[in-house]
């Protein structure tokens, strides 16, 4: 599906941000991308989306869902780029919804690329599309909020609406850029529980900061360090492997957000079967 080969990004001053990142995302996968801050995780996603121009390498998207076509994600511009983006459902850390619109209107934005621009300007969406959007909201358990103004929702609620928007977009893959980084533990868990079953239908690649979450939900983990892929494989990483990936940042990553007692309790991420504290919060 998504094939990224040797992706490079170099700043004008010669600083190398991405030093040949290669990764793949196949059907049924939920790939978690880990790495210290500044390692190039989000930048990789931005290059795939064409939000940042890559300086080398290739990224292609191929799927039966897009008529068996192969999209060259790095070379495209204009209409072709919009066609590429339409195949990728994106979920951001900051939710990035239009706050003054109703929830349902935000969901329907996901379909903008599929309808004629004139219709989206003058008429809007049909009833059938609205019903479908409502269905997407039901999947994230937000259908009762459809008429609310989006700005009045909490962070966890907004992220679920953002996921509904991506679902309604009917993409070939989902990209999630730190989708749970600004959420509390129970909301983070709820979002992961939404993404995991989604990934069984449509593959998901997401950047995460919590190795215990990727260990529990992802089918595979890719670790990036200083612009290179240093690990690609089983999501359950040993403490030594994490040490290797994160270096000095390790303790920050393993320590849950403030006011959480006993960080040691899940510092040991080999113990993947339960994340006791989080599970308790979610219950």
């Amino acid at each position: 599906m998504l094939h990224v080969e040797n992706l490079r990004k170099i700043l004008p001053d010669g600083k190398v941000l991405l030093d040949g990142v290669s990764l793949r995302l196949e059907r049924g996968e939920f790939v978690g991308v880990l790495g210290a801050s500044g390692a190039g995780k989000s930048l990789t996603l931005r290059c795939i989306l064409g939000l940042t121009k890559a300086d080398g390498g290739s990224a292609t998207l191929h799927s039966e869902a897009c008529g068996g076509r192969t999209y060259d994600l790095l070379a495209c511009k204009g209409r072709e780029q919009r066609n590429c983006r339409r195949r990728m459902g994106v979920i951001f850390q900051g939710f990035n919804l239009v706050k003054r619109l109703r929830v349902i209107d935000n969901v329907m934005i996901g379909r903008l690329a599929r309808i004629h621009p004139l219709r989206s300007w003058l008429y809007g969406f049909t009833d059938a599309e609205a019903v479908e959007a409502l269905e997407a909201l039901r999947r994230v358990k937000m259908d009762t909020y459809a008429d609310r103004v989006t700005g009045s929702l909490s962070g966890g609620e907004m992220q679920r609406v953002a996921i509904a928007r991506a679902i309604f977009q009917k993409p070939a893959i989902y990209l999630a850029d730190e989708p749970i980084a600004s959420l509390d533990p129970s909301n983070s868990l709820a979002i992961m529980k939404l993404l995991a079953p989604l990934a069984r239908e449509t593959p998901v690649i997401g950047v995460f900061h919590q190795p215990e979450m990727t260990a529990r939900f992802c089918t595979r983990v890719v670790a990036i360090k200083k612009g290179r892929v240093v690990y690609d494989g089983d999501p359950r990483l040993s403490h030594d492997q994490l040490q290797e990936i994160y270096g000095d940042e390790l303790m920050q990553v393993l320590r849950p957000p403030a006011s959480e007692p006993s960080p040691a309790a899940h510092a040991d991420v080999d113990d993947t079967d339960d994340v006791p504290l989080l599970a308790k919060l979610a219950a």
Binding site: R82, R85, V90, N96, R100, R111
Partner: protein, 276 residues
Amino acid sequence: MPAAPSAPVPAPSARPPRLPRRLRRPLLTALILGALIVVSAHLCQVRLDDLPGNLAKGFEVLRFFFPPDWSSLRELAGPALVTLLLAALATPLGVILSLFFGLAGARNLAPNWLRTISRTLIGVERALPEIIVLLLLVAALGVGPFPGVIALAIGSVGMLGKLFADAIEEVDPKVLESVACVGATRWQVIRHAVLPEVMPAFLANAIFRFEVNIRASVLLGAVGAGGIGLELSKAMSLLEYERAMMAVLVTLLLVFGAERISDFLRAKVMDGGRLA
């Protein structure tokens, strides 16, 4: 002895006594402002000693204005309507123009050259008072309400165009990026992300501008745009003070009425946004 390192700092005792530091700045400010006032009063021929006599004369004249000539109310209704319509026509025209200037003047939507052009035009417009615009237009189009409408519409762009462009630039760039990420075109991003975010505030400003335009249209009327302003200035030059007073009362009514309506509409618009 070599030059002492402490040489640049004179001993405190050697200084003459000075004002406390925190008094120096206010005193200096007061001195400068005082001098400015005296000089400008002189240049503008302000003579306070004439004021009591003139004031008495002024009150004398004021008596001529009463009672207002109620019978002229019927004749003044037409011109008052012209003034109202002038503003009512100029405001939406200005709003539409401002939409384009605002979109073209926003850094996050328009390329740099377009933004520069738009912002410069808006800036030039804002520097020109409506009355000057009207005088230029009257020279070109002749006397009448039409140049008044154009002058007010252009005047509205100076304010609304800038406010709109500034409001657009404050929309969270991440939101625009995320809408672009579903594959939307630039115009779709404008329609579905930019406009919903800025519209309530923009409409509130536009309604406020309508209020300003009513007042301005009275003034422009006197200079050649017609309406109640023209009636007032005609009555004054014909020394029909009672009729002039009636025109003033009608103007007051017009402006108050417009303010009430505008307050009501603004509250509605901002309530519709629900996040104001």
